[in-house]
Symmetry: C2
Subunit: 243 residues, 2 copies
């Protein structure tokens, strides 16, 4: 029953009621647990035959580098998230995945995933569902960068992180612990680090949200949500169509 406590089980259970055998299959994923130091690159851009991982503790991020040294972070990964699921299913990786903090992650081989797909369809559905949710998040980030101001982007991103962390029990309505630097935020939101600092100050002074000393506190959740046009639909928890 230990698995009921793992972040992945917790997240998937929010989408699909998993059977005993599903849980058993899931527990096999947790065998090859490994630890990585902060800054370690788990998957490199251009790498072939990469493994996938399930993040159990700590934070990671996936990003692409540009030739001029600029970086665009595609997504931040928190406990319960898959790392490099696409990389293992399909060819070479088009992005890098790096540990932000010290992390523990279970290595998942292509073989494990394909096995699960043929023997545990319900679990496979849940996994595909999680992958689909990841894609929906990337799309929402695209909207963020394309059509929202710096302040809105920041608000939206912090709200999304908060919602995701709540789902795995790492935050609540009041806020969450956050190991990201302002440089991480800048590379995620397509801003300069300097401007990130100013935006955070503005949001704090306006009594909306405070991000200091590794802690995000929602000072006025409803107003923040309105400003950011934050709608949780794309993170949805109502489960897949296939039951």
């Amino acid at each position: 029953m230990l698995n009921l406590q793992s972040p992945l089980t917790r997240k998937l259970s929010a989408f699909v009621a998993l059977s005993e055998s599903d849980l058993a299959t899931l527990s096999r994923f947790d065998r090859r647990s490994r630890t990585f130091q902060a800054g370690h690159e788990l998957i490199h851009e251009g790498q072939t035959k990469a493994s996938a991982f399930i993040l159990s503790t700590g934070w990671a991020c996936s990003y692409k580098m540009l030739p001029d040294g600029e970086r665009q972070i595609v997504d931040i990964q928190i406990p319960g998230d898959f790392l490099g699921l696409r990389s293992v299913l399909f060819r070479t990786s088009d992005h890098t995945i790096e540990a932000i903090t010290r992390i523990e992650a279970s290595e998942v081989l292509a073989h494990d995933i394909l096995d699960a797909f043929s023997h545990a369809p319900r679990l496979a559905t849940a996994v595909l569902w999680a992958a689909s949710r990841d894609e929906a998040m990337v799309v929402e980030h695209l909207v963020n960068l394309g059509r929202r101001t710096a302040e809105q982007r920041m608000a939206h991103f912090l709200l999304e992180l908060g919602a995701r962390l709540q789902l795995v029990g790492l935050g609540d309505q009041t806020g969450f612990d956050c190991p990201l630097t302002q440089y991480h935020l800048a590379d995620t939101l397509g801003l300069s680090a300097v401007h990130v600092n100013r935006v955070l100050r503005k949001l704090r002074e306006d009594g909306l949200v405070t991000f200091q000393k590794g802690r995000v506190v929602f000072d006025d959740f409803p107003r923040l949500r309105d400003i950011a046009d934050f709608d949780t639909t794309y993170l949805d928890q109502d489960g897949p169509i296939l039951r």
Copy 2:
């Protein structure tokens, strides 16, 4: 053998060698062919139980609207592309899909797709591969919006479109026909329509690319590619790992 000519078959064949039975299954997808006028919305944001479609002729786009009336186009779809694949596999649609030109598209029911997945694994792999490629494109668009200048975004987008159209036989090294308005480009690239116009003029005056009267002409392909940092890896055609 008519199917060998269809854009979808042509695209998937670039990834996986399809068997006769795969081709037969694929041909069943083309049964429920339908026609839609330009501007018609095939799938609405928030809609449940949507169908998927395979676009056979014409152009479409998927987008999200913001409360202030702004629009962010997520992707442009051309013949051979799936429309709303995620919408049918997983819950409510988080985006709208609209016909840009008059289009012909084959409706694909959830049932068809699941059947194909269990009975034609090779085809299923190809379909998953196509879906993965779509996601990689969204990620590249994210990088585009987050870290590139207006000029680079435009160059990158036109090069990507050109590469995709070549794959289905609708363009060559010299250029391609393009029904997009400058408003479409603006909503895709996160710019204003006015600025799109200026950027196009600049690229034309610099002898890089000309977009006029519905035709895109690459005047200096190598230089354009360098400016845009365009690397086709993420559109790759070498096929999936699973053979």
